[in-house]
Amino acid sequence: WPYCRKRCSYCNFNKYVVPAVDEAAVRACLVREAQTLLRLSRVRSITSVFFGGGTPSLASPGTIAAVLEAVAGAAHLPADAEVTLEVNPSSASTPRLAGFRAAGVNRLSIGVQSLDDAELRLLGREHTAAEAREAVEAARRLFPGRTSIDLLFGLPGQSRSAWARGLEAALGLCDDHVSLYQLTLERGTVLAAQVQGGSLPTPAQDLLADMYHTACDALVAAGFRHYEVSNFARKGALSTHNLSYWRAEQYIGVGPGAHGRFVPWGEGSCSREARVQTLEPDAWMREVQSRGHGTRRRVVLSPLEQLEEVLALGLRTDEGITQERWGRFSPQLSLEAVFGVPGEAQELQQQGWLVLDGSGLRCSREGLALLDSLLPALLCQLQR
């Protein structure tokens, strides 16, 4: 759902702020595209559904229900499949959330970002900290054990102590899943312009490193499993949907700007493709209406490219890349054959950042924090 009521100062996702949304039209197109792509992919069973955006909680529960029905109609959607909806605290009243639950949603991801009003203003968010709290509490009542919150750190001008306070507040409030993101200043956003223009300070690299580590320690101490670079879960509340990204499984993107990775057997192809749907909603709608789907770009991924994705994404998780999964994408060359020989991987292992053993290849706790620096070296080795 690409629409938002307001632009946040840091966001560079595919979002649109329009005075009026023709919900019926968008709904019809989402339904149509879902059906078309599902048929194209010949997928038989769905493991999870994720509603992202934009601000999906601005869509009416009816639209969510319609999409889910369409999915269930074109493939098998098990009753216990994870269905997540991204929610903005300003559109998360109890009745509304209940409506989404009735429509079939069984998990919520709430864009809290911060529990400090001044920080929220800096980020251009639509809600206050109090509203965020209410939203999380309402969510936990309706979706106990299935609510996740998003947190941002590394805001311009944010001090260590401010982050520590924020963490504490968040830990007291959260359910069993937390997504932690470092604020990235993207070119073209209001926040980036402010920092560049000098009216806001740039956060120091060391401070950012400290904030991340403080957060990891605090979350682990509170019983969370650090199962992915940015994601923490306790009592087994991992996000099935996101795991499928990192395990390089198949996923279908529906809606403006959505991404997908699947094999379009329906067209007679047998190669995994990377696909993107048209970004601009009006253009996307026209395309869906005329040919059933609004795929803007599709690129066949070569075996090497697929392996690169498996590597880069798999290492983000604590389980890493299993021998079995690697074998599926690389039947001839095992993990040992690529990374077990003298080279970058061995050096990194010696440094204690990487582990290669019988179960697979993964980063150590310390290595996970440095992943961005390790990957290019490993990619080089893989290419050879």
């Binding site: 996702f13 997504s179 932690l180 993101y181 470092q182 990235t184 312009a193 560049q196 223009g197 000098g198 009216s199 300070p201 740039t202 120091a204 690299q205 060391d206 950012l208 490193a209 991340y212 670079v229 940015s230 996101n242 990204y245 991404h259 990377a274 993107v276 490219e305 690169e308 994705e309 880069a312 994404l313 970058e344 996970l368 924090a369 440095l370 992943l371 961005d372 620096s373 990957l375 290019p376 070296a377 990619l379 080089c380 290419q383």
Partner: protein, 617 residues
Amino acid sequence: MALAGRTALRWARLWSPRPAAGALRLPSWRPAACVRLYGSRGEEKLDMSMYPVESIRNFSIIAHVDHGKSTLADRLLEITGTIAKTGCNKQVLDKLQVERERGITVKAQSASLFYNHNEVNYLLNLIDTPGHVDFSYEVSRSLSACQGVILVVDANEGIQAQTVANFYLAFEAQLAIIPVINKIDLKNADPERVEKQIEKLFDIPVDECVRISAKRGTNVEKVLQKVIEKIPPPHCNTADPLKALVFDSTFDHYRGVIANIALFGGEIEKGHKIVSAHTKKRYEVNEVGILTPNEQPTHKLYAGQVGYLIAGMKEVTEAQIGDTLFLYKQPVEPLPGFKSAKPMVFAGMYPVDQTEYNNLKSALERLTLNDSSVNVHRDNSLALGAGWRLGFLGLLHMEVFNQRLEQEYNMSVILTAPTVPYKAVLSSAKLIKEYGKKEITIISPAQFPDKLSVSEYLEPTVLGTIVTPQEYIGKIIVLCQDRRAVQKDMLYIDEHRVMLKYLFPLNEIVVDFYDALKSLSSGYASFDYEDAGYQAADLIKMDILLNGNPVEELATIVHKLKAYRKNVVAKCYGGDITRRMKLLKRQAEGKKLMRKIGNVEVPRDAFIRVLKRQTDK
């Protein structure tokens, strides 16, 4: 003369002011798109004698970043008919691609506007100034050619760091200041509050403020009228000998250096022989003219007027900002305030691969053709090969420079922290004989003599002056202490501002001190420095061990207290995987340029990370 007079009269009739409300009516012979007014160069030359000194106003627009300087400039150009009014006039005076992209002005431009008010034809010279603090020297030179400024303040944001800094520059230059409150069309505008801020901080009465919307054009004509009423004409005489200030220069491949000049006395025309006060070199004038904003030749330029000059100069260093030009055999007192650009931020610049060296060399030469404020010295690193040590006016200057290198010359470079020249006083007779002297300069870590052979190490120092509003004193003192600086002086220059003098080791300020200072003072603190000789220092050579063997190339010289490293954090974000893969693969490509040392292949990245500034824990 008669012909020129008639021509000038026709122009004067054409450029009379339009009714503010209606659309601009353009003379029928002019094409509709945003094109220059006049015909091609070389045709009818303007006669500038039509504009006596009393009808001239030289002014600048100053403001904090993004408060609307350049948009106001666009509107003024449109109202006076200098450019056609169409939708595409966006920051017309910003000519560089990087300026348009980032929405900033890097080089100052000027334009001469003609405006009729109360039956009199006025010549208004507008000098657009860079908004960013890195370029305050350019701003001050442009201001010295003006008698007044328009101070633009955003009606919502109010007074900001650059507003204050620029106000002081204008105030100290004793210029008339016209406060203009912009963006009144926006929802959060609060002009009344801003007017009170202006009255309180700058002591300018509320009723002198003009409220406008540069974007919509609201009230902009009033600004022009205020310029005529409040800004005095220049105080100079055409009868005096020639005295011209160079306040900018650009390099044109076909015509050579084009110098922007303001005449403080006398007159200038083609054929005159002039001399530069700074270089003492002599030139013959080929062409003079005004900028509208493109070059429009004229017969002559007279005292009080602003325009350009082409005189056979081959490099922009021959026409430095702040220089004075006078007629051969009629030397004058040079205009005060000239100084060579002082670099604040330094970086080592190396080609990604040594095979690219020559390409980078010519790219650097061409870029610096038009930017005489970049300091360039050749340098050599064992790890990265031959390269340069560059000095910039600030971090933005360096970023813009880097961006232009990438965009205009397609060059990717490695930027590293530079070396500073340390010294050692030798105690070993053998080494003294080898070097031929007792005190040597150490250019690279490989040359670092062992502690046993040295009686004393020395490091270069500078005396830094910081001017800041008092609320930041605490944080600044901590910052300076963190950089091993010793306070030499502290005094209150007025009830709001303090001046601090610190003695800094040079290596502590060469990369990010300036940026850190600006950061923690929200841009309000300023910094300047001068060489202060050498002082004794406790230096050690930090060896990096790889597999237990010291790697010479990676060694750096650091002060004992600072030999620690911090690890890099992976960026964690949700989002598009394709984009991330692209970025990673690009990094992998970079990694492919590896350097073999012994049996170990060390990724270039590791070199760079270590050579880059290490901060302490």
